[in-house]
């Protein structure tokens, strides 16, 4: 009796999951297939579901239109630089909010949280004006710096740092450790999972920060991958094979990073331990 119940449960669970996986992955499959087909083929009805022969053709054509190497490098450079800066600033600010008492702490934290609710489109124009005033337009500074004080990042870090035992910090103080050293040598190492999680989030965010990058960068030598791809979607002649190939390429890095840092990501979200 118990066995058949278990069997049904197993089958049911697996079915739900597998359907979910197919639904999640199918568009990717289709995108990769599209990358190997010519534009005309992508439009055929019934739709083509098997790899085509145009991969190399699409690759060469795509590379002619947009300098693939440069553009991918730019995207990485921007995303990684951004991630490093954000992690640094978010973690140290999060630590301060979590472990210190100071005047106005709660109000400030509340204000920061409030801005998580701001729609991005709203502040684009004033922000662009500021970039212009500072003379940062058409440079990576404009892409990276405004977003570094990331409300979500500070929030996440603060939540996770709340769990660091006060006694640990006090002991270090008694031992004569400087405040920054406490942060750097004692607290931070315990935050690895959170840092990994936040790092993935921030990388993902900047990698796909298409609109802002589009608006702020003008030189084609500075373009990032999504911006370059967008320039391929013209008025009436779109080579979808090329575009899908470019899109496939742009998805790969994030997939890779997630694959490598999965566990940390998950535990970091909770600030808790991961049971496997």
């Amino acid at each position: 009796m118990v066995d058949s119940k278990n069997k049904i449960k197993t089958v049911l669970s697996y079915s739900i999951i597998i359907i979910g996986v197919i639904v999640s992955l199918f568009p990717f499959y289709w995108m990769f297939i599209g990358a190997t087909n010519s534009s005309a083929d992508i439009f055929s009805f019934p739709p083509k579901m098997i790899p085509g022969k145009s991969f190399m053709k699409n690759l060469t054509a795509l590379n002619e239109q947009i300098d693939l190497q440069k553009v991918i490098f730019n995207s990485f450079f921007v995303a990684i630089t951004y991630t490093i800066f954000t992690l640094t600033i978010s973690s140290i600010a999060g630590y301060a909010f979590a472990k210190f008492e100071f005047k106005g702490r709660n109000y400030l934290f509340g204000a920061i949280l409030l801005t998580m609710m701001l729609p991005g489109q709203a502040t684009m124009i004033p922000l662009f004006d500021i970039m212009k005033t500072f003379g940062w337009l058409n440079s990576y500074k404009a892409v990276i710096i405004p977003g570094i004080a990331n409300a979500f990042g500070i929030f996440l870090m603060r939540q996770n740092m709340l769990k660091v035992p006060d006694s640990l910090i006090e002991a270090a103080r008694i031992d004569g450790c400087g405040e920054f050293a406490i942060f750097y040598k004692i607290v931070l190492p315990t935050m690895r999972p959170s840092i990994a999680a936040l790092g993935i989030y921030m990388f993902m965010f900047q990698w796909g920060n298409f609109m802002w990058q589009l608006i702020v960068l003008n030189d084609s030598s500075m373009k990032t991958l999504p911006v370059a791809l967008s320039s391929l979607v013209g008025l009436s002649r779109v080579d979808y094979g090329q575009v899908l190939l470019g899109a496939s390429l742009s998805t790969l890095p994030v997939i890779a990073i997630f694959l490598i840092l999965q566990k940390q990501f998950i535990s970091g979200i909770l600030g808790g331990a991961l049971k496997e």
Binding site: S24, M117, A151, F258
Partner: protein, 306 residues
Amino acid sequence: MDISMTRTKERRSNLSSKFKLNKRTAPYYFIAPAVILFVLFTLYPFFRTILLSFYSYERGRYIYSGISNYQRLFSDAIFFKALSNTFTYLLIQVPLMSTLSLILAVALNSKIIKWKSQFRVAFFLPSVTEMIAYSIIFSLFLSDKGLLNYLLSILGIESIPWLIHPFWAKVSIMVALTWRWTGYNMIIMLAGLQGISDTLYEAAEIDGASRFQQFLHITIPQMKPIILFSMLMSTIGTINLFSEPFILTKGGPSNSTISLGLYLYNQGFMNLNFGYASAISVVLLIITAIMSFIQMKAGGKDNGGL
């Protein structure tokens, strides 16, 4: 001589101790970079937007117009459509997706399942899809001659006017949103599930509770903070919804799918009514704040120590 020198030294060291990095001053130094950046690049544009909402952009100049933008908003039919669409998405898609995420998480968490990591990656992928790819793929899938209708035709079902008919267009948006974010939320839920101690379940088992009762009385209460967190994030995301309507339907047909975020964008970038667009932003912010407040209150105090 000696005494005065000591006094000077004391005075100097008093001054420098004010700025030295110690337990008292540390927090200020630590939050300084974040706060400076925050004030410059988040707070200032935010206040400026609020200010601009009281102006009207005409022929290249900002003219003070008091609350006329807000008055216009209250008689703007498209604004109300955007509002109603947003609430439709909120009331239908968010709970549906959260439920789906929870079910998937419970299924994946079951001890009998192998290859957990691999499945996790598969579910997470949709949330990292690049915008352009996502837009092309889904608009092709949902077009009249697209993949979805093809699959339906194989099953003998008539083509659905996914992006053509106002009702189905809304459905399409919700389908796209669900595809994109369910896995992401599932992973959050999964982590939450794994944080529930086994002893709770064992105790309930001993007391004779059925699986379902255990789910109701242990899983859900334990998961409350996580579920609330996930729903809160989804709510904020939905109220600010922009990409899906922008990419798939441009708000149509007949503004049946337009969101507040898209309407704001259209007014600002298409119609060049910057003052009006700013007013919409302010309203959007107020709505988000209210909804978040309601959710947090409904969730009770135990919510991450906020």
